[in-house]
Symmetry: C2
Subunit: 202 residues, 2 copies
């Protein structure tokens, strides 16, 4: 198998997942800034022109970072990053989606509407970037209330894929200059714990 | 267990999933139009104030429709709607995300920026609704190319949760008046097959 990798948050999510699993797989770097994900060869692997893509030995290509992580989890179940009991599976999926569809989406909206890279992919509207910034702060404050019970990781006692999605959200927050509010001390604690993991630099 | 249900696409996704599994669980209807998901009692179950929520017998609440579906799949594995082999699991997750993060997101953007219901939840920008409409058509044409190999369901030979997510996307298309382009005959075939399933009316 081979991972088509790039310098971007979604490929990084897979790299962090691999590091947490202790797995190494061959990678090919795609220069997305230079149009490397828009070539006919790449589009044959993922017609949406997005990285990452995992190419299996039988030629099947799996796109979408979380789909790649689920494939790898099915092959290598330990350590379980998507949960094992029905309740863990449900809770981790809930938190993974909350991190992605809420916080990553809000912070990503700022990037989408301000970064030059996206100028030819979406209609950039300054008011949307501003709304994304307000929503990001609101969600960080909401998350702070959720983490106020003192649990170490976002879905409970164990580090999970929801924290990995949180890592990419916090990376995007760095890029878009969304600061954790001073009063959000529980988010600050969780954020520091994420950055202390060796996989942060994967 | 009890499902907090509402007249909206995400609760419907769980109801379709239950129908496809042949499961029945107790439901409580929440009147979201009248603020029923914003009461203190409801916010204690899901601090984001969104339906659906599955309350387990031990009091744990699982929000997010797909998280609820995954919990139910873990308890009732047959028929498998998230796949069983690693490759199926990866492929179905890829397609579920493509349906949700691409098509549902595009069509949902139209709703978000035009429906009165969302006026106090997001900053409504007419240009965003228009961009969502253009993107929806572009994605339906892209999907048509993907389904041109004649496969019956979006992730392959078997009906899966990715088709259920597709059902909610097509329902949202009805509400936002996004029509399938005349040339997208493969999407039209798939759309007709979805609407012919008994679970369509769940």
């Amino acid at each position: 198998m081979k991972l088509y990798n790039a310098a971007a948050p979604n490929p990084r999510r897979v790299r962090i997942f691999l590091a947490e699993k202790g797995l190494e797989i061959p990678m090919t770097d795609v220069d997305i800034m230079a149009g490397g994900s828009r070539t006919p060869e790449f589009l044959a692997r993922n017609s949406l022109g997005e990285c990452p893509v995992l190419e299996l030995d039988n030629g099947t290509c799996i796109a979408e970072s979380i789909a790649i992580c689920r494939y790898l989890e099915a092959l290598h179940p330990t350590p379980a990053l998507f949960g094992t009991t029905p309740e863990e599976i449900g809770r981790i999926e809930m938190w993974n989606r909350r991190r992605e569809l809420k916080l990553s989406d809000a912070v990503g909206t700022i990037a989408l509407h301000t970064f030059d890279f996206f100028a030819d992919r979406v209609k950039q509207v300054p008011a949307m970037a501003e709304a994304g910034r307000e929503r990001s702060i609101r969600l960080l404050n909401w998350l702070d209330g959720e983490l106020a019970d003192g649990r170490p990781w976002v879905a409970g006692d164990d580090f999970s894929v929801a924290d990995i999605t949180g890592m990419t959200a916090m990376l995007l927050s760095d890029f878009t200059r969304v600061a954790i509010p001073d009063t959000a001390t529980h988010v600050a604690r969780w954020n520091a714990a994420l950055r202390a993991r060796p996989s942060w630099n994967a």
